[in-house]
Symmetry: C2
Subunit: 192 residues, 2 copies
């Protein structure tokens, strides 16, 4: 399997100020990883054991609302970390699913491996914290954007910030992610 970790090393160095050799050591602990289109990384009720760097591809996390409809909670694009925080860090059964929309490749470690690194490698400590901070910030930003924008503005925003999603994801995933019905999104799109 293809194991060139340049992209991961580059990603680590982008996220936290550590030496290149530290970054290489961290990357060395990750294992190659692959998913086919529509394949699941995590299904609800499982305990997640993947802390994943997504090198290429598009994924989404979703759950079911009270009516049994799929609600897409988040998209994961390439050159980002992917994990279900609650299940992975608290070792509890997941309420969410994580699914590949396109074929995906990347590198992963397990919870056990992460903890070993976390306690033994100060550089990884900083990396791990930086990732949590980064994702937390993204979640807060998303919150703000969802509350203070109309559906149309939210769509336009997505168009600018994550065009990959619009390109590869079916409309219905995007609609539930934006919190509107399929019909509404279809109409929004019509008015460019």
């Amino acid at each position: 399997m293809y194991t060139n970790k340049e992209s991961l090393i580059h990603f680590i160095l982008k996220v936290v100020e550590i030496s290149k050799s530290d970054a290489e050591e961290i990357a060395a602990s990750f294992h190659p990883f692959k998913l086919r289109e529509k394949e699941f990384l995590l299904k609800e009720n499982q305990i997640s054991d993947d802390y994943l760097y997504l090198k290429s591809g598009l994924m989404r996390t979703f759950l079911y609302n009270l009516k049994g409809e799929e609600i897409t909670i988040d998209f994961f694009t390439e050159d980002n970390m992917v994990f279900e925080i609650t299940s992975f860090f608290n070792r509890v059964h997941s309420e969410a699913n994580i699914q590949a929309i396109t074929p995906c490749t990347g590198f992963r470690i397990s919870y056990k491996e992460l903890n070993t690194l976390f306690h033994n490698k100060p550089a990884f400590r900083d990396f791990g914290r930086a990732i949590l901070v980064k994702e937390f910030m993204a979640s807060q930003k998303r919150n703000y954007g969802m509350i203070n924008r109309t559906a149309k503005e939210r769509y336009q925003n997505l168009l600018v910030n994550k065009p990959q999603i619009l390109k590869y994801s079916p409309l219905k995933f995007i609609a539930s992610y934006l919190g509107v019905t399929d019909s509404t999104l279809s109409r929004l799109r019509k008015n460019l």
Copy 2:
């Protein structure tokens, strides 16, 4: 100044599985802290240096939208941690403000103190991570709730989960937090 840290020790033990003596040692590193009603913990453009355990009182974080209106992003209730993640962890100027709604008391540490603990005290490492995970989860949950509920449901949800807020916060803070206008919230409230 009143420095009984029982509540903080209890909070730490609730969040992470460590020994009582570890929790006491962590708590010992925190310093007493007080804010008057309407006083600011953080103003926009400052670099936050407070990692705070709120023992009593109610706070909010807010920023200004494009029209110059205050948008309340989050409320902080007693027995929770308070910090502006972006500014505090990335040492950048804050876009947000944090303000006491009622008089507040608690215990705080600085960024420097946090880092010393983080690298020297394994138990604090786990605590720090658990807090980030906890807050991240809360943010995600809020996201989901904002998108898939009507304003009325969001209000009712707040009513059940954080009644303190409804008791002490003016309506307009709550309205912007829920993403509706003052008028709309006033009408929602009328229909109980």
